[in-house]
Amino acid sequence: MKRSNVTALALWPLLMSGGAGADDPFPSIRFDFLADARVTLADGEPSWFKDWLGKGRYGGTHWAGNDVEGLRLAEASILAKAEISWDLSGFVHAKFDHEQGKPLDLVEAYLEYKPAPRSAISYEGRLGLMFPHISRENVGMAWTSPYTITPSAINSWVGEEIRALALEGKAKYRSGAHSLSLTAALFGFNDPAGTLLAFRGWALNDYKVGAFSQLPLANLPSIGADSDFLNKQPLWVHPVNEIDGRPGYYASLDWDYAKRLKAGVFYYDNRGDPEELKRKQYGWDTRFWNFYAEAEPLRGMKLISQYMTGSTKMGRQRYRGMYPVDVDFEAVFVLLSQKFERNRVSVRYDWFATDDNTFVEEDNNNEWGHAWTVALSREFRKHDQLILEYLQLDSWRPARKTIGYAADQEQSIIQISYRLRF
């Protein structure tokens, strides 16, 4: 938790200097807690989280097939928002998860400067460790989705590998019911992003990585110390890491009409140096586009779609300038959700694929798959949520054959989640 201490120290003088009138007691801190209790029933191949190639956070057992896991804690998050002045605030999100590399880890920690608009164009900025605004699903507290337990393939990957230690600026132009925002950021500490997409492929799970945690990779013949292909790639990835000292950037353009029609485009390039290897991690050259459209055609109804396309490269160039890993990736989803007072019904279709451009004989990272997700949820107390979700996954990945599974896999995962908030 080194970084959070640094953040606290950085905030200290600001915390101490706030004026303290009766009507204006800055700074103030508000804490919120989220606990997610989970019961799961899954069949099919074992999860990538248990070092296999299964696409869910949960899966069958290696020998027995079906797996039922009784009530347990999927995550506990603590969120602190410090209002330092009217225009400046600080935000920290820490998460406890016994399956996480570091059981208690930092998800986000940033300062936000946001003065009230004085004209049709307003400006704001953020500095710190943050999620770039890619996901249209994870708009809930502690980066959860109000629609489903499990985010789409696209946003699952964002949660797993995308995090930026960034300086982000945003300009927003408002005219009547329209608003147009331009966001741009310089960032570091995200060079290994892409590792999971290449060696594991897409997945659908609600795990979001902590800044100091590692994620497992399956024991494939192409990686690990015993491999003759990429023996310097260990069987894990630490996504929030600076490898090559080169900053990356992202930018987005977002349009909003009366908060009921939204569309936007986002571009990310971590400008990683694929040949750089530090702390057992490569700098992956990962770039992608994310497009989205969102509408509220009827009261309480949401229609959300995202499309992502990109590429990632890694390793020392071999003959003809080819990188050992050079994978294009692509995914799309459409989500329809309807709220009926305290109840919500959501249905989502996901399609995803990766296309391996090099050394397929030695290291086959091709895949395609699709998934249906159906979720029913009900609110209890003030903001608690009980969600029942059915996830059906169907995918093809030839690399499974190297660890004793068929390339084609079908899988169903049923989950019940109770999100307790206080």
Partner: protein, 213 residues
């Protein structure tokens, strides 16, 4: 002397009640959709008409992370107070031409007032809560009101005479009714129906996303 004034006041009161006219306005859009939150302002054609005293105080509250009301219609020169009924901060702003301001509202402080001295539409937002949205329509006309959910508003106690009646709505498009003339007669009620054109996607103040953080 006192008695004389009393009689005079009573006479005036009696006279104005006796000869007051009523104006009933209804606003619809498309095929008979009742339009609430439409602002109706009434302008006498003759400057000699004795209009009712304009109301020069109004309230725009913040409650449950919403503005209330969504549309507030006031006459020029009205002072609006912004009581914060929530137990947290609101940072209310407007960059609309008739009035640019920023109000930092903490606790249930009722002393925050803004004088709206220029006519026009003032869109309000809260810098902390993005869902909050409201409009203050500042009219240059002395009598102003807004339609209820069934699209109706009634003005009573108007002196008989000729009037321009104007309509405005936050989602109004060009091409619908804008203004109508009416002549009000003593002790009679007159009806005016406006048919306006509205955008297919309406602006509304959504309740705060309870998931939001």
């Amino acid at each position: 002397m006192v008695r004389f004034f009393l009689i005079l006041v009573l006479c005036c009161a009696f006279r104005s009640v006796a000869s007051a006219a009523e104006l009933r306005v209804s606003v619809t859009a498309g095929s008979d959709e009742a339009v609430g939150n439409a602002v109706i302002s009434v302008k006498p054609l003759s400057p000699n008409l004795e209009m009712p005293e304009p109301v020069n105080a109004a309230v725009m509250a913040q409650q449950n992370t919403m503005f209330a009301p969504f549309v507030l219609a006031v006459a020029v020169g009205t002072e609006v107070t912004f009581p914060n009924m929530d137990e947290f901060r609101h940072q209310v702003y407007s960059f609309s031409k008739p009035k640019r301001f920023e109000l930092r509202l903490y606790g249930q402080d009722t002393t925050n007032k803004i004088m709206f001295d220029k006519p026009g539409v003032v869109a309000l937002g809260c810098n902390i809560h993005d869902n909050m949205l409201a409009f203050i329509y500042v009219s240059e006309h002395p009598v102003v009101g807004k339609t209820d959910e069934s699209g109706d508003v009634v003005f009573s106690n108007l002196p008989p005479g000729g009037y321009e009646v104007h309509v405005w709505h936050p989602d109004e498009l060009r091409g619908g009714d804008d203004m109508k003339m009416v002549t009000l007669r003593a002790d009679e009620a007159s009806d005016i129906a406006f048919s306006v054109k509205l955008r297919p996607v309406r602006r509304q103040q959504q309740p705060p996303a309870d998931e939001g953080y």
